[in-house]
Subunit: 519 residues, 2 copies
């Protein structure tokens, strides 16, 4: 990485913004006066009325990835049509939510045209992702393009190659059309009174000094979540057929949940992580994963099978050499689902509890056995994962920020402050690794003892956090420290203040709970 401390941070950041501006196709941008007013919070249905997208384009962008591929295989749809539709939608969406860091219009349309030529010549698809536009979180490398991971000091870093996962998707026929925003520190936002820190009103959400803040398309007073926040907006607004983010504590699942998309966290060492630009490579105590966002479970499955059927472990030998499993869907009577209504540390908000109740009712109606699941010591999981996030006392990150010279958001400081003030020794790190393994084994054993096959729980304490509010993310991060696969999915419900009433007389359990209950 090339540090650029000699240049003022604003100059460096402006470089990136120019790349973004220059990457836009002016023909697909609406004049400011045609955009919804800043006071209009829900912009998710703006596309239908904005007149930039044709009916056909609206149809295409509302179609699942699985169905789009089917249509391309039948010759009813071309890759250029598909890519154009998603590109146009992404342009408008960017004007609404500020979710993009760079469009790749020319490359995407060229790739799409080549796919169409291939199909015309052979009558077959290039691969299982043929013609599907995919958006990617900024720090996932694209050859010849900047990859900075929201660090100003890294703005002169040009990716020498596509990230391995991008390469595999391209081999499967995918088209990459837009790159998306992430917060400073690339952590899921975190705001907790730990180690004596005092709360402030500042935040990061999905915000950084380079591109500013990405907002939630369903309510622009809310955050899109983080850290794959741009991906949340992208999939929530159907700007891409699939998206790729990274997740070390909920960074794929939280933005998917906030924006109404599906987010998968695979187990570690499943998808190839090579070519992701991130500080602290070689940290293996809590492994970050790279995984998809989509608009259906079937689309997540399509992505995973397209990637793992290429046996990426024969290139990246760190990966587990395990094929993507094709299993027959379980019959309802075959599985037992345990429900975590409340992790015992921070109580979910009323709309979340109502969504869970609805899901449980639906599951029971189909014949699935659903039981309550008392969480297995989530405090222990919290203590381990927060100690392991920045075991070097975040010196790696702080050094890069110091090199860049950009302002450091208070919530970045918070994120770092979950670590001990001084770096852990290697021996202390080992002890935490061992505690982690004991915790994993204990959790798994407990599930088996209770006869529970999978767990249904909130993705977050609320429907989505307001911009500037604190975030408690253990409902997702617990599965990171356990290294369990999980999916967040929309319930189809929306918050209704008339029925989602705050419990009267609830006494908060802790300072963190207090904050979460009152935002």
């Amino acid at each position: 990485m090339v540090a650029s401390s000699a240049v003022p941070w604003e100059v460096q950041a402006e470089k990136c913004r120019k790349v973004l501006r220059d990457s836009l196709n002016p023909a697909w941008l609406l004049p400011a006066k045609q955009l919804p007013p800043a006071t209009q919070l829900n912009v998710s249905t703006f596309f239908e009325t904005c007149k930039l997208l044709s009916t056909r384009e609206l149809e295409i962008t509302a179609t699942s990835a699985v169905e789009l591929v089917k249509q391309m295989a039948s010759g009813a749809l071309t890759a250029v049509e598909t890519t154009t539709a998603f590109l146009k939608r992404a342009h408008v969406a960017h004007q609404l939510t500020n979710f993009a860091t760079e469009f790749m219009v020319k490359d995407a349309l060229k790739a799409a045209a080549e796919l169409d030529a291939y199909f015309k010549a052979t009558g077959t698809l290039k691969g299982p992702l043929h013609g599907l536009p995919i958006s990617t979180k900024e720090h996932i490398g694209h050859k010849g393009r900047i990859a900075h991971s929201a660090y100003v000091a890294w703005i002169d870093n040009i990716a020498e190659d596509d990230a391995l996962l991008v390469q595999l998707c391209k081999k499967a026929g995918a088209v990459f059309h837009v790159r998306t925003n992430e917060p400073q520190s690339v952590m899921v936002s975190l705001k907790l009174p730990i180690f004596g820190s005092k709360l402030t009103s500042q935040h990061i959400d999905c915000s950084n000094p380079i591109y500013g803040t990405t907002v939630n398309p369903h309510n622009r007073a809310l955050t899109c979540g983080g850290s794959s926040g741009g991906e949340g907006s992208s999939l929530g607004l159907h700007c891409a057929a699939l998206g790729i983010g990274t997740d070390i504590g909920g960074s794929v699942r939280v933005p998917a949940a906030f924006c109404g998309a599906y987010g998968l966290r695979t187990t570690a060492l499943r998808n190839p992580y090579q070519g992701v630009c991130i500080p602290g490579s070689g940290q293996e105590s809590v492994r970050c994963v790279i995984s998809p966002l989509a608009n259906s479970v079937e689309d997540l499955n399509l992505f995973q099978s397209a990637v793992l059927d290429q046996q990426p472990w024969d290139i990246d030998v760190t990966l587990v050499p395990l094929p993507w499993r094709r299993i027959e869907p379980y019959q309802p009577g075959q599985i037992t689902i345990g429900v975590i209504w409340d992790d015992g540390l921070v109580r979910p908000h009323p709309p979340v509890t109502r969504a869970l109740q609805t899901a449980v009712t639906k599951l029971r109606e189909t014949g699935v056995k659903v039981v309550n699941f008392e969480p297995y010591n989530h405090q222990e999981g919290f203590d381990i994962i927060t100690a392991l996030y920045f075991p070097d006392a975040a010196r790696t990150q702080k050094d890069i920020l110091a090199q860049g010279g950009e302002p450091v958001a208070a919530l970045t400081e918070y994120a770092f402050s979950v670590s001990r003030p001084e770096p852990l020794s290697i021996q202390e790190n080992w002890v935490l690794n061992s505690r982690r393994d004991v915790y994993r084994e204990g959790y798994h054993r407990t599930m088996k003892e209770r006869g529970v096959d999978m767990i249904l729980c909130p993705a977050y304490v609320g429907a989505a956090a307001t911009l500037g509010s604190g975030q408690y993310f253990l409902y997702t991060a617990i599965w990171n420290i356990l290294d369990q696969p999980c999916v967040t999915f929309p319930t189809g419900l929306i918050v209704d203040p008339a029925i989602d009433c705050v419990e009267v007389g609830y006494k908060s359990r802790s300072a963190v709970d207090e904050i979460v209950q009152t935002v």
Copy 2:
């Protein structure tokens, strides 16, 4: 672990020796005058003439594990007969090589009798390891017995449970009858002039202050190798149908190679490591594996399938959930073997080169394609693995030695001295992890580019090291840093000074090479 610093180390060590003495069945020990004289170096054929074992017992102990199970399945052999035969042989072998730390006569015969009763009642075997006596390296836990890992400070540590792998073997019908010796520090012996250390004439081989030195049954002036040295002697002398050791740099394969047995190093996180007593738990940069020794490839396969068919990953969730693969044996024309004649750092001795030549000739005769393989930067592998063995500057181990108060062998100091004098920081450890992954990927890519499916190379620079000589173990350790599976196997050849001539005029490449060429 309970430290016992208040008690003199000799008193603690004597506790263990008493356990060993009390565990012997006097009826199976030979009077000193019936033993070979100390000057007789090769004791490997003593059993045939010692008259303690019947012809039938000699037959049983010369039979492969696979065949023993077949005989028990047909009713031609009982578990008690089998266990008794191996127990008797192990008693004599212990008098010859000092390889045992504890016999488990009563438990083993009780388990065997239960197996026989089970077979009588049901007509079926308990499992695929039914009635097979297995020896285990001392630091592999057995419920209710001491597990000290050759550290005096840990002598009061009583295992609360069998190690998970022992449990799985018992479920598969195995019998555990003897536990075996290991060197101080439980490292493969290492003696290299690094960081300015001066060579001395001291060594550890398979020696510790508790039980003393285990020697090589084929030549008692040579070491049995380490660190699973007792296991090497055990399998080399057919004292067990199978053995279990641990390997972080060659600790299963070196003793197997030195003693004429087969040794498998699985990839990491394949067999469950839970219940191994070892300092530095939580160290994950170079993972130690627990894996079998045997007297044939088929027996190694039997062990692995018996263990992995039980899906241990459903108990120890750190394990890779990958079944043991049943593959049809390759046809000779389907595979290409690359031969490493010399790793470029230290040249193998003439008998080793002759053994390789013999193997290559035999392989070519069967139609296998064999090509020379230029090693892919083994110096880089060496630099990474030596830095990662004791990244805490061996403080963990030194503290335990200080607690115990026992004398520290010079070669233990050497083993520790490969680490930097001061502990690495967590960030330095991360950098090494990343280098390791880059090296792994590069090695794999190179093999693929050259069309090489597997590599044949020396297990060690010589046939076996003399007691007190230096050891260079990168020929095995390179596969640890690469985390590749490998097997050492006997060639059937023996050293012949008449034909294994030292090259005249060879100029050594380095101080290490010089030492190895002149021992």
